[in-house]
């Protein structure tokens, strides 16, 4: 654009730079903020782990008869919240596996594995929020997320109904990886945005031209009918062979009537839509 303007304004040729081209278009590029790969929005976890109820006992002591009659201090020793963290993780994991497993002994099927990983991932994510500098857990979490994604990829290929079911059950989002990796640069992003901008302009102009042509349709047909009637009358009056038939005129009239009907229906539809948006 610059270059064209320079040529049009008669700027001497030796001063025109044709490299490092800069666009005049007012396109603002905002670099997307980097989201850490361990965040739920990147890993595809839509749901969080449910909050632990305060009275939850250790899984092994749930049905214990002695604990029912035990006093407060003893009972508190067997509460999950007063015990090591990994027991809570194990509790969540078992809960999640039980939701999807095929039978009571199933811990090795794909869905059980995915459930197990999902529970650990969500637990680790909670941990990472509280302890952002814990690198060991961060690495483990990233590896788990990648592995789960790989397993989902396999499951999709092997068994699509089960894949969809597990996505729903575990509340996960699956997005396939992009075909090519590239770093995000200002230049390339602006090129893409410019392409989108140009495409939009093209579409708008085509749409406008289409409207313009449509507006000409009815007057053209009316004019054509008038002329056809006139020519036919003249030919009959002057005793020359008649080239315009009644049928042709009738066809044109029918076409016009159809067109008018169509336009009216369209106008009514747009009016209705605008009324609905207005109210």
């Amino acid at each position: 654009m610059n270059k064209l303007l320079n040529i049009a304004n008669g700027v001497p040729r030796q001063f025109v730079r044709d490299y490092a081209f800069k666009s005049d278009l007012k396109i603002k590029w905002v670099r997307p903020e980097k989201i850490s790969c361990i965040r739920p929005e990147k890993s595809g976890d839509l749901a969080k782990l449910p909050a632990l109820s305060a009275n939850e006992l250790l899984p092994g002591y749930k049905d214990s008869k002695e604990l029912e009659s035990a006093d407060e201090t003893v009972l508190s020793l067997f509460k999950l919240s007063n015990n090591p963290n990994h027991l809570t993780t194990r509790y969540y994991r078992d809960q999640m596996i039980k939701e999807v497993q095929r039978h009571a002994q199933d811990y090795g099927s794909m869905e059980a594995k995915l459930a197990k990983m999902t529970a650990s991932i969500r637990r680790y994510q909670e941990h990472m929020e509280a302890h952002p500098r814990d690198k060991m857990i961060k690495v483990r979490l990233k590896e788990l997320i990648d592995k789960r994604k790989k397993f989902l990829k396999y499951l999709r290929r092997w068994d699509y109904p089960r894949f969809e079911w597990i996505l729903e059950k575990l509340d996960l989002v699956y997005k396939p990886p992009p075909a090519h990796f590239h770093w995000i640069t200002r230049k390339e992003s602006l090129q893409k945005l410019t392409d989108i901008y140009c495409e939009k302009i093209k579409e708008e102009r085509l749409e406008a031209y289409h409207k313009e042509l449509q507006a000409q349709q009815i007057p053209y047909l009316e004019d054509a009918i008038k002329k056809m009637v006139f020519v036919r009358q003249e030919q009959i009056d002057c005793d020359v062979p008649v080239t315009v038939t009644e049928q042709q005129i009738e066809n044109a009239r029918q076409e016009l009537a159809q067109l008018k009907q169509l336009r009216e229906a369209e106008a009514a539809a747009t009016r209705k839509q605008s009324d609905e948006t207005f109210h």
């Binding site: 590029w29 905002v30 670099r31 997307p32 903020e33 839509l46 039980k98 939701e99 999807v100 497993q101 095929r102 039978h103 009571a104 002994q105 199933d106 869905e111 999709r156 290929r157 092997w158 068994d159 699509y160 109904p161 089960r162 894949f163 969809e164 079911w165 597990i166 996505l167 729903e168 996960l172 989002v173 699956y174 997005k175 396939p176 990886p177 992009p178 075909a179 990796f181 590239h182 995000i184 390339e188 992003s189 893409k192 945005l193």
Partner: protein, 155 residues
């Protein structure tokens, strides 16, 4: 060329065009210098108004007598292998990786089938999660611009 009505088998790829599916035909090409075969992909657009094939399906396409649009040259004939819903061609039974679905079901029955587990009979046809949880029907891209709107296919 077009009069041949050539039949081709390929895999359906994600495609944004309406009424058409993008089909990848994969062949092996010999590199004479290295004396090795390399994958070579050719892409065709097949007319598919009913959206018979979904991403990943192996389909048969037939060449049209004349090209329909600038892009569309083929017609989707048949879905041969739907993705993740494989039938063993010899016995006609459904297969998951190395096992028949029947055998898996039998093992589940023997161990005491869980009521919460997955059931093939209750499973609806593919495609209900498109756009909400499963984004394999389109091409994903690395997010390059923040425009304030939701970009479902941005990674």
């Amino acid at each position: 060329m077009a009069a041949r009505g050539l039949l081709l088998m390929g895999q359906c790829m994600p495609c944004i065009k309406q009424n058409a599916s993008k089909i990848r035909i994969r062949r092996m090409e010999l590199d004479k210098n290295l004396n090795m075969y390399f994958k070579k992909d050719t892409f065709f657009f097949a007319h598919d108004p009913k959206k018979l094939c979904k991403t990943g399906d192996v389909v048969l396409i037939r060449e049209l007598p004349e090209r329909m649009t600038r892009l569309i040259t083929h017609n989707v004939e048949k879905v041969v292998y739907p993705l993740g819903d494989i039938t063993d061609p010899i016995t006609g039974k459904k297969v998951v990786v190395g096992k028949y679905r029947e055998d898996i079901e039998m093992a589940n029955q023997l161990f005491g089938k869980s009521a919460k587990g997955f059931d093939y009979e209750k499973a609806p046809p593919r495609g209900r999660l498109e756009g909400s949880k499963d984004f394999t029907h389109g091409e994903t891209y690395i997010k390059y611009h923040e425009d304030g709107k939701d970009q479902p296919f941005a990674v």
